[in-house]
Symmetry: C2
Subunit: 370 residues, 2 copies
C-alpha cells in the first residue's frame, strides 16, 4: 500500500493506493474520527460489485447507502437535490461523513453535495475507475453540469482522504480502462520521463486481457498499483502548488485543448474523454515539433505508446475544419488566448498561448487525413 500526501496546509490529506483495501476504510475513519454517521453515495453497478466490501469495514458505524443513476447526463442539480432530500430524511448532520464511491460522476456529484450540505461536511473519495483514481478524485474539484455547460456549478472542496483500490479496475470494460490510460500517459509526458519509460516497458500489462487469468492478474495488479501511485504523486504535487487552478495546474490540460473540442463535437459519444485527450496529446506534440520545441523522435514515442495502449492518435469521422471551428480560432490569425500545453521533451511541458493559427490548422488537418 502506498501513501501520497496532498500538501494543502490545513486542508492536506492522503491518497492511499492498494489492492483489496476497501474493507480497511472503516478503521481509518474510526481512528481519524471523521464522523459516526456514514453516507455512501454510489451508483447501482459499483454498489453491486463492491458495496459489501466497503460496508464490511463499517460495522461499527451507522451507515446508509444512497444510489444515484449512472452516466454523465445525470450529474446535475436535480440528482444533487435528490441526494440532499435523502440526507435530510436520514438526518445527516454537520458531523456526518460522505463517502463518494464510484467513478467521476459519483465523485464530482457527491463531492459537491458534501461541499454544500450544511456549508460543508467531511467526505472521502473512493474512486473505482482508472480515470477517477489517477485524476478526478484528487484535487478537490467538485461539481455538477448545467444544461449548457459541463461542471459549471461546483466548488473546490478537498476530501479528507482518497482511497484507490486497484482491484476495482478489474471489472472495468476495456474502453473505460483505456480512457484512464490517456491521462496516465499525459503525466509521463508532462512531468516524468522515467514513468513514461515504465509505461512503454509495461504496455502489455495495461489492458483487460491481463485480468483474465489469475497469473497475469496478480502481476498486472502490481503494475496498476505503481501506475496509480505514480500518477497520484504527479497530480498531488501539481495540485499542492496550485490548488485553485490559477496557473501551474493548467499544465494538466496537456492534450485537452483540442481534445475538448473533439469531445464536444462528438457529444461525448464517438470519442470519450481519454480518447479525445489522446488525439489532443498527439496534436499538441505535433504542434510543439513544428515549433521546433521537441524532437520528432519524442513525438513518435508518444504516438507509439498511445497506439500500443489501444488509444486513437488520429481524428476519424470528423472534418478537420469542424475541429478548427470548435476551437473558436477560425477567424483569427493568432490563437490568441487559446492555451496549449506543449511538451519540450518527454517529461517536461510548458503553457503557450502564442501558437500561430496556421500551425494549429495544419496539424489538425494532417491528423484528420492520414
Amino acid at each position: 500500500m502506498a501513501k501520497i500526501k496532498v500538501d494543502l496546509k490545513e486542508r492536506s490529506y492522503e491518497v492511499i493506493v492498494g489492492a483489496e483495501i476497501l474493507a480497511d476504510i472503516g478503521k481509518i475513519i474510526e481512528s481519524e474520527k471523521w464522523g459516526r454517521d456514514v453516507f455512501i453515495i454510489t451508483d447501482p453497478l459499483v454498489n453491486d460489485l463492491y458495496g459489501d466490501n466497503l460496508r464490511k469495514g463499517l460495522k461499527s458505524f451507522k451507515h446508509h447507502t444512497i444510489e444515484i443513476p449512472r452516466g454523465e447526463k445525470n450529474k446535475d442539480l436535480k440528482i444533487a437535490s435528490r441526494v440532499y432530500d435523502e440526507l435530510v430524511r436520514y438526518s445527516a448532520h454537520r458531523d456526518s461523513l460522505i463517502i463518494a464511491f464510484g467513478g467521476g460522476v459519483v465523485g464530482d456529484l457527491a463531492g459537491f453535495v458534501a461541499a454544500t450540505y450544511m456549508r460543508g461536511i467531511n467526505y472521502l473519495q473512493v474512486p473505482t475507475t482508472l480515470l477517477a483514481q489517477v485524476d478526478a478524485a484528487i484535487g478537490g474539484k467538485t461539481g455538477v453540469n448545467h444544461p449548457k455547460c459541463k461542471n459549471l456549478i461546483g466548488s473546490f472542496y478537498q476530501p479528507k482522504l482518497v482511497c484507490a483500490d486497484v482491484e476495482t479496475l478489474t471489472s472495468l470494460p476495456a474502453r473505460e480502462l483505456r480512457t484512464g490510460l490517456a491521462e496516465v500517459v499525459k503525466y509521463g509526458v508532462i512531468e516524468d520521463a522515467d514513468f513514461f519509460k515504465f509505461l512503454e516497458a509495461n504496455s502489455h500489462h495495461l489492458n483487460t486481457k491481463a485480468f483474465e487469468s489469475p497469473d497475469t492478474l496478480r502481476a498486472s495488479l502490481k503494475v496498476w498499483q505503481i501506475i496509480v501511485t505514480e500518477s497520484a504523486k504527479i497530480k498531488a504535487s501539481v495540485v499542492a502548488k496550485d490548488e485553485k487552478e490559477a496557473g501551474l495546474r493548467m499544465i494538466l490540460n496537456y492534450g485537452h485543448t483540442i481534445g475538448h473540442a473533439i469531445e464536444t463535437l462528438t457529444r461525448y459519444r464517438a470519442y470519450n474523454h481519454g480518447e479525445a485527450v489522446a488525439i489532443g496529446m498527439v496534436a499538441a506534440a505535433e504542434i510543439a515539433s513544428r515549433q521546433k520545441m521537441i524532437g520528432t523522435d519524442s513525438v513518435l514515442r508518444i504516438v507509439d505508446l498511445l497506439e500500443k495502449l489501444g488509444l486513437p492518435t488520429e481524428i476519424e469521422g470528423l472534418p478537420a475544419n469542424k475541429v478548427v471551428q470548435a476551437l473558436g480560432i477560425d477567424k483569427k490569425v493568432m490563437a490568441g488566448k487559446i492555451q496549449f500545453v506543449l511538451p519540450e521533451r518527454i517529461g517536461k511541458a510548458v503553457v503557450a498561448d502564442n501558437v500561430p493559427i496556421k500551425v494549429i490548422k495544419s496539424v489538425i488537418e494532417e491528423l484528420g487525413c492520414r
Copy 2:
C-alpha cells in the same frame, strides 16, 4: 466612512460603512481589478430604489442586473438555477464579478451562486437592510433553503468587500428596522458594554420617525453609521477568530436558541427573526439570572432597551409548552446538548450546555404568562 478589516489571511476583506456611497463602489472594483464584467443580483424593490445609484459608478464596466423575487420562500435551488441560467446566457466567466445587492435573501443566494459558479467567482456584498448590514453580509455564510430546513444547502465563501450604505436604511419599514436592532443589541450584550450604553443613550434616534424630517434624518444617519460600524467590528472580530463556526462564533447565537424555536413555531410570520431573538435574549438573560450568573439589574437593562426599541420581550399568542416542545427538551431532565449563550454581565457572554431543564421551562412559562 469607516473601514473594518475582516482578518482571514488570504481571504481577508474590508467592510466599508458610510452614507450615500453606492456610486463609489465602481471605483473600488476598478482599482482592485476584481473583474470587468459585473453582474448585479438584486430584487425588484431594491433595484427600483437604489439600482441606478449603484450603476452610476459602473459606467466603465460591462454590467447586467439580475432580479430575483423577494421573500425567504424564494431563496431556493430553483431560483439559484435561474440565476445560473442567466449568468450563462450573458457569458459570465471566471473573471466576472457578482454584486449581491439587497437584504439577507439576496445576499445568501447571490453569495451561494458566486461560491458555486465555475467553482467560485469574486463577489461583493452590498447589504441594504439593517439585519444584513450588521450580520448576514459579514462572514461568508451563503446558502439557500431546502424545503425541510433553512439554509441547508450552502457554503462558507467570503466576499471581496462588504459595502454598507446606511442611506438605504431610510426606506425600510419600521418592523424591518427593528428586526435588525435586535442583533445590534445582541452585540452590546455579548461583547461591548460601552456600545450597549451608546444604544441606551441614543434609542430615541433608532426608529423610522427619525427619518421623517431632514434635521433628525441627518443626525440619525450619523448614529446609524456608528451602530453599523460597531456591530460590524464585533461580527468581524468573532468571524476572524472562528471562520467556520467551530466554536467561538457560537457566541453570536445569543438569543437564538429559544428565538429559533419561536420563529419556527410561528412559521416566520407572527414573529420575525429579530423579534424572536429579542424574546430569546430576554429568556437567556433570565436563565443566567436564575443561575446566579448575572444580576437582575443587568437583565432589566436588556429588557428596557429592547422595549424602548419597540421589540417584544414576552411571548404572546404561543403556549409555553409548545416552545418547550420545539426545543426538543420536554422529555429530558437536562437540556443536554442544547446550547445556550448566557450573559455574565452586559458586555460578556459564555456558552453553556448544562442548563437544568426545569429552569428553562420555568423561564419560558414566565415569559409566556406575564
